[in-house]
Amino acid sequence: MEGRGASRILSLRVPARADQLRRVREEVRAAVDGCGCSAQAAGDIVLAVDEACQNIIRHAYGDACEGSIAIEIERVGDELVFSLVDSAPPLDPRSVKPRDLDDLRPGGLGTHLIRTVMDETDFARHPSGAGNLLRMVKRIT
């Protein structure tokens, strides 16, 4: 979907495994570094994408991690649009919500971090009918 003057700055597919996350972070960092966002914003974006991949690995695929994650980043004007697609069983978007931070316990922070960093976050079934689509938007100016 390269409309509205969109330019794709990253297209990456990785196995849905924890040992692939360093590569994801490096590729995302390299892609957003050239977009003029601050160092802090770039770091926040890398964190959010990493957390989103973790959610896919841990919750969408679960322990049977045979699948992959497709990551695309497009620049559309002053927005970076992130699309993460998996081929896992359907995930109820209502189940993907940040926890109450006053409830101090390990885990459950990832979705809070994603929603704090990104300006928009939408979970949906992939239009093809197979897998889940996470779309995130970060405004960079």
Binding site: L21, R58, G110
Partner: protein
């Protein structure tokens, strides 16, 4: 990610280096739980942590809670800018005890 464990006057100092992520945080969690299980004061030096995610932060939360239940101290020390940013985003920077440097140095308890 690399780590080291040193003993200082009966306290335990865990120094973490590199990226604490989903791949490495299970080892960090195991180490921290082992340390707080010894009943000593535990300091976690984050000066050389270049990246940390929610799974790494969760291991701190778990160790902190166990230490609190046991009546022992658990503190983060020399938190790197990258780690501090994630603690702030998680709104945990006011929950953990954070020292600017290790006790015995110019510890100001900030």
């Amino acid at each position: 990610m690399q780590h080291s464990l040193t003993e200082k006057g009966g306290d335990l100092v865990v120094s973490l280096q590199g990226d604490v992520d989903l791949d490495s945080s299970p080892a960090v969690r195991e180490l921290l739980l082992r340390c707080v299980g010894r009943g000593a004061t535990v300091f976690v030096d984050l000066s050389n942590v270049s990246y940390i995610d929610s799974s790494g932060v969760a291991s701190f939360v778990e160790a902190f809670q166990i230490a609190r239940r046991n009546g022992t101290a658990f503190a983060l020390v020399s938190v790197s800018p990258a780690a501090r940013r994630v603690l702030e985003l998680a709104r945990l920077d006011k929950v953990f005890t954070i020292h600017e440097s290790l006790p015995g140095g110019s510890d100001d308890g900030a």
